[in-house]
């Protein structure tokens, strides 16, 4: 097991990269703790697979170094890095049995037979595949095959890191739950450094302690799932994390209040460091839809008339899409709440983020605590 340091790492697929746009992966400096669970999240073409290939040793970066526990491994081959990887499509050795598949990496490394047998039977038990130990691996279901490819990494107790490249792509939704849980258990049990590449926010957020969000070759934010949800540092993160994504609306920042649609919304934080045209970011979860009477009763000045355009009932909540002051906006309505006929939208001021040129403006101080929710 090892901590992984990315030291001024950058990569371009061109021989002589000129400007910034030539880089598939723009410069990244970061340290991944030993035993941590990390996710690389972003849309296709964002550079996440490039980064993974650099870590696994398939790709030599144009600039910078990769260090495992402080040792430079940039020039080392995949074999020498002592890592394991689970691919998008299950890679198994068709002609071998399940047990032989698990024994394969050990036998290749000259581990003696009795040790191999005991580790393989342990691993079969861990993966709940003991009954199928002597079955040919090719006849198994996709999720079982993925477990085997993971097992081939875990069975070598000393791997530096386990890399996952969208491992749940071909798994049915029900099995996804089980496999994800299994993965988490194994992480707790073995404590390997794990790096998980995906475009699926649910997978990334539920798996990782820290999520690296990438966009057009750039790391736009590294943070815990809460940080990504509560305070996205870039409007892209706001949009990409959360389903539906964050509502981004044009507004004017004036002292510590936002001017939006003839309303002034007082913000809890102190924003004297910025002013002018900004973007108001509010998650659909924090847009309440109230009836006119409720709004009047609450005596809240910052309510905006909401014109409903569509309602999607997805069971445990409803997504209400509509318009406020000519801008489209989404709100989330809990299962047990009714939708008023002529609603007004109320933004929770504590949950408003302010962006300028797509970047988050942090308040210099908070007058009253926001942040917590539940």
């Amino acid at each position: 097991m090892a901590g992984i340091t990315l030291d001024k790492l950058a990569h371009s697929y061109l021989a002589k990269p000129g400007n910034d746009a030539d880089f598939a992966l723009k410069q990244i400096d970061y340290h991944w703790e030993d035993g941590g669970a990390y996710a690389l999240l972003g849309p296709s073409g964002c550079g996440k697979t490039t980064l993974l290939n650099i870590i696994s040793g398939l790709l030599l970066p144009s600039k910078g170094h990769v260090l495992f526990d402080g040792v430079d491994v940039t020039e080392l081959s995949t074999e020498q890095r002592n890592i394991a990887q689970v691919f998008q499509f299950p890679v198994i050795y068709d002609t071998m049995t399940v047990a032989q598949n698990l024994a394969f990496p050990l036998l290749n490394r000259g581990v003696n037979q009795s040790e191999v047998d005991s580790r393989v039977s342990d691993m079969l038990a861990t993966l709940e595949l003991t009954e199928k130990a002597n079955r040919k691996a090719r006849g198994l279901t996709a999720d079982e095959k993925q477990k085997i490819s993971l097992g081939r990494g875990l069975v070598r107790y000393d791997v530096n890191a386990i890399l996952f490249d969208e491992p749940l792509t071909v798994i049915d939704p029900h099995m996804k739950w089980q496999l994800r849980t299994k993965l988490k258990e194994l992480h707790q049990q073995f404590g390997h450094t794990m790096i998980y590449v995906t475009h699926d926010q649910t997978e990334a957020l539920t798996f990782a302690d820290k999520v690296v969000v990438m966009y057009e070759g750039e790391v736009v934010q590294i943070g815990t799932p809460e940080e990504l949800f509560d305070t996205p540092e870039h409007t892209f993160v706001g949009y990409f994390i959360g389903s539906p994504g964050m509502n981004i609306l044009p507004a004017e920042l004036n002292a510590n209040a936002l001017q939006f649609a003839d309303q002034s919304i007082a913000l809890p934080g102190d924003y004297r460091n910025a002013s002018g045209s900004v973007e108001l970011g509010i998650r659909p979860e924090f847009v309440s839809l109230l009836s006119q009477e409720q709004a009047r009763a609450k005596d809240n000045p910052s309510c905006v008339p909401f014109k409903t355009t569509s309602v999607e009932d997805i069971g445990r909540f409803r997504i209400v899409r509509g318009e406020v002051a000519g801008h489209t906006i989404a709100a989330v309505l809990p299962e047990d709440q009714s939708l008023p006929s002529e609603p007004v939208a109320l933004f929770d001021p504590a949950r408003i983020n302010v962006y300028q040129h797509s970047r988050l403006i942090k308040p210099t101080s908070m007058q009253s605590g926001g942040g917590n929710h539940g």
């Binding site: 849309p43 049915d172 939704p173 389903s243 009714s338 539940g374």
Partner: protein, 359 residues
């Protein structure tokens, strides 16, 4: 209107489709929901006329289509893989079905541009599909299906190979795009969440059998039987077998409280959706269950807690961020109003009573 009457498809001794009767109206969006190998693709192939049923009849607008060739049927299909003519530009790809139909150039041009606009492909019309992203390629394939003016449009997991966020956007657009054309739309997916977002009607499939067909949200809220309920659950449904006596539900010496409905005494399967398990008690959530935490997953706004409750593997889905360690003891609370009960033959006897309150 597409009607399938007692359609069965056997391959060898295996029934891939078993006695399916279903009726789909024009202008409707019909979701086929079920796990891999539940028969979604087999059913679509039968509907398209690519396969012939072993028994049963398939009718379109009242007339049997079994004798007709696929080419005459005016069916459009979109697959999971992005299938376009690689040598054609996007424009020619979209225009191709209309050219085959012998439509005049001016109309074709107009339709291609309209459809491209609708699917946000206008700026790529002169490119070939291989120079496009996956999402754009699939939108091209969808555009081709749209302009064909088909009576029956079959979409077989069309978004499965796309990025999460792209899926979200297309899912929102698709029902709107299709509602206007007046064709019968059939959309296969493995994901309950996708079915809910698409709306329309949902047919749940399990091992080649149609387990239920109805308005999507109704099937979700009131599944006829346990199989449907489990097919239509993501995260999975929490189940436990109980004994009902009077209106009291009991598992061994643990009481799940009283339900308002009266059910016959006997054995039942009690099912609760994960978001109907609360971490704190109130007047509605008043049945306390002691559980042991396995793993917990945090999405940033919600937490999934995998727990062991009365020896069953359950999932709790709760708002906000909650951190638990594996092995932690916890008390969760249930609301008997939100119980599902399935009888011995796995049929629904009680569904949750939804109450919608003004906040």
């Amino acid at each position: 209107m597409l009607e399938l009457e007692s359609v069965t498809k056997r391959v060898g001794a295996v029934a891939h489709i078993n006695d399916v009767t279903i009726r789909m109206e024009r202008g409707s969006l019909n979701v086929l929901l079920g796990p891999t190998l539940s028969g979604k693709t087999s059913l679509m192939r039968l509907m398209a006329g690519l396969d012939k049923p072993t028994s049963g009849d398939i009718k379109f607008d009242g007339a049997s289509v079994l004798g007709q060739s696929v080419r005459k049927r005016n069916v459009a299909m979109v697959y999971q893989q992005f299938i376009n003519y690689p040598a054609f530009t996007v424009y020619d790809n979209i225009a191709s079905p209309m050219r085959l139909a012998g439509i005049d150039k001016k109309t074709i041009d107009k339709r291609v541009r309209e459809t491209a606009e609708l699917l946000k492909l206008s700026e790529f019309l002169e490119r070939t599909p291989l120079n496009l992203s996956g999402g754009q390629q699939q939108r091209t394939a969808i555009a081709r299906a749209l302009v064909k003016d088909a009576e029956l449009v079959l979409l077989d997991e069309p978004l499965a190979n796309l990025d999460y966020k792209l899926r979200e956007e297309l899912r929102e657009e698709l029902p709107r795009l299709f509602a206007e054309t007046g064709a019968v739309f059939v959309y296969a997916t493995t994901e309950p969440h996708e079915a809910l977002l698409l709306g329309g009607q949902t047919a749940t499939l399990s091992e080649g059998c149609l387990t239920q067909f109805g308005a999507t949200i109704d099937v979700y809220n009131k599944p006829n039987n346990l199989v449907t309920a489990q097919t239509f659950a993501d995260p999975p449904l929490n189940c436990i077998t109980v004994i009902a006596q009077g209106n009291q539900l009991q598992k061994d010496d643990f009481s799940f409280g009283a339900i308002n409905e009266s059910v016959a005494d006997g054995n039942y399967t009690l099912a609760v959706r994960p978001h109907h398990v609360a971490l704190s008690a109130d007047e509605r959530y008043n049945v306390a269950v002691d559980v042991t935490v396995g793993t917990s997953e945090i999405t940033g706004s919600e937490t999934f807690i995998h727990v062991k409750a009365l020896n069953e593997q359950w999932v709790v889905l709760t708002h906000g961020v909650h951190r638990f360690q594996s092995g932690d003891k916890l008390t969760v609370y249930l609301n008997p109003d939100y119980f599902y009960l399935f009888n011995d033959s796995k049929d629904l006897v009680k569904a949750p009573q939804l109450q919608r309150l003004a906040n």
